[in-house]
Amino acid sequence: MSDAAILTEGLSKSFGAQAAVSELNLRIQPGAVYGFLGRNGAGKTTTMRMLLGLVQPTKGSARVLGLDPTREAELMRILERVAFVSQRKQLYGWATPAELVQMNKAYFPRWSDDAAARLAGRLEIPMKMAFKKLSIGNQSKVALLLALAQGAEVLILDEPTAGLDPVMVDEILRTLIEDHVSQGRTIFVSSHHLGEVEQICDWVGILEEGRLLLESRLEEIRQEFRLVIASGEGLPAATSADVVSATTDGRFRRFVVSREAERFAAELRGQGATILEISPLGLRELFLHLVRKEDPCTPGNVGVKPAPVSSFS
């Protein structure tokens, strides 16, 4: 049995000929806040669904809290201990949030009425109005309330703040940090809002076309990752294992380097290149460099390699 909160090994899912997730290796330690990033259709939601038994893997395995979601008995134990907010956040239209709370609490032994009441007030949810009559933002808040009051050890959140205004996004993030991160609960969150991810996550994984392009500590990205722009003729596609991405734009070549950028730049100079810039990268820039396809002359990101399973030192 693994001590990881979430562990996947070679996890793959295909829908016909279309591979949604390919050979995904994740290891998320208990207490980690893991931002799962990727473009639309990258495979984030499918991965989350596989962890919750909603979709069966084609290949590979997954463990959540050491339990196998493909086995029904173990899945039931996972679902007792894991809270999930789906992308669609669709609940019963005829029910009021108060009724949904009553309905939901019966499923979870660690449900907290206090937390539910506090969240209802904090998120300004109209508890007596039918769910179908609520705005999209309020519907999202109800879905979050149900997940957060569950007392779960692991939160799996699929774009939890979609449709919320900035004040509510801030409120949700603060709630996550105060009530969950501070208590050492594991959060596995997908989001397109990289600012939010930077605010709460300590780990990020970037997925593209079902493959994990990069997995790293956010701190490491800030401190170590650099963008190296070089010019010159006949520059190599990738010269080092530390090169995460290399793209070509005319005579210029952009390298995203995971560590020792200066040494890498010196190597390039040795090959006759002129180094134009070495600059630190934010999460947004890194993400765009990794997944952007519109750079001319490159079929995707030639230097990108599947990320290794993280060591969590």
């Binding site: 134990r77 679902l79 239209g93 499923y107």
Partner: protein, 253 residues
């Protein structure tokens, strides 16, 4: 709590079906006594006491004629709210991430629907029977007392079929259309086979109701009880939801 959710979701249909069955059953029971005289309507109980035996059986036959479709209607109306109907609105993701097995959810819904079908069958029939017995002072009404249970047994395959079709189509509306299509095709095929060939095959599972209607005429028990149809009803009542359970267990969201 899922049982409560099923009840909340089927409550409107249940009340509608209950009214739809009870009001006609009571009207049919009281109908023979309602008289018009010089432009005034009044209730004449002597119609019931004049010949209670004939009146009891005549009225109970009328009650059964009015009530027999109610179990099929209940089955279809309630069946379309089965687990498969939650795919279309997207609530299935919520439901299937609660720590309950898909099998248990399928059968909880089925149980709630069966309970409602029993009430929809029993309440109007027994209310009418009590009213009829009181008016005629003749209480020997075995067919009327037996009727709701046979109606429910015969309705169960329809509940199962609708549950299966809803799972197959992943939609309440789609399930309803497919159930109607299956029933229509069955009736047409049966007619195509029986009429030109002058065959009279036994009914698939509605035999007990046919027996009830035919035998109730003045209590003459001339036709043997169709045990074969009853067992087929019981078999289909179990087989259809089991097939739905199999489909749902393997379904992906």
């Amino acid at each position: 709590m899922y049982a409560w959710k099923c009840w909340r979701e089927t409550r409107a249909s249940f009340i509608f079906l209950l009214m739809l069955s009870t009001v006609p059953a009571l009207l049919v029971t009281l109908g023979p006594g309602i008289k018009e005289q010089s432009g005034w309507w009044h209730f004449d109980r002597s119609e019931y006491t004049h010949n209670p035996f004939i009146m009891a059986h005549l009225v109970s036959n009328m009650i059964l004629t009015v009530l027999w479709p109610s179990s099929f209607l209940s089955a279809v109306f309630l069946g379309v709210t089965a687990l498969g109907s939650e795919f279309e609105p997207g609530t299935i993701e919520y439901l299937w991430t609660r720590p309950r097995t898909r099998t248990s959810l399928t059968w909880i819904h089925w149980s709630v629907c069966v309970a409602e079908m029993v009430i929809v069958a029993i309440v109007p029939t027994y209310l009418a029977a009590v009213l009829l017995g009181t008016l005629t002072r003749y209480w020997d009404l075995p067919f009327l007392l037996m009727a709701p249970w046979l109606m429910v047994i015969v309705g169960l395959p329809m509940l199962g079929l609708t549950t299966l079709m809803t799972a197959l189509r992943r939609s309440g509306k789609g399930g309803l259309i497919f159930t109607a299509a299956v029933v229509t095709v069955y009736v047409i095929v049966r007619q195509l086979v029986t009429v030109p060939l002058h065959l009279n095959p036994p009914t698939l599972f509605a035999g007990p109701l046919v027996w009830l209607m035919n035998n109730n005429q003045f209590g003459a028990t001339s036709i043997a009880f169709p045990w074969g149809a009853l067992w087929r009803a019981v078999f289909l009542a179990a087989a259809f939801p089991l097939a739905a359970q199999y489909l749902l267990k393997r379904a992906e969201v």
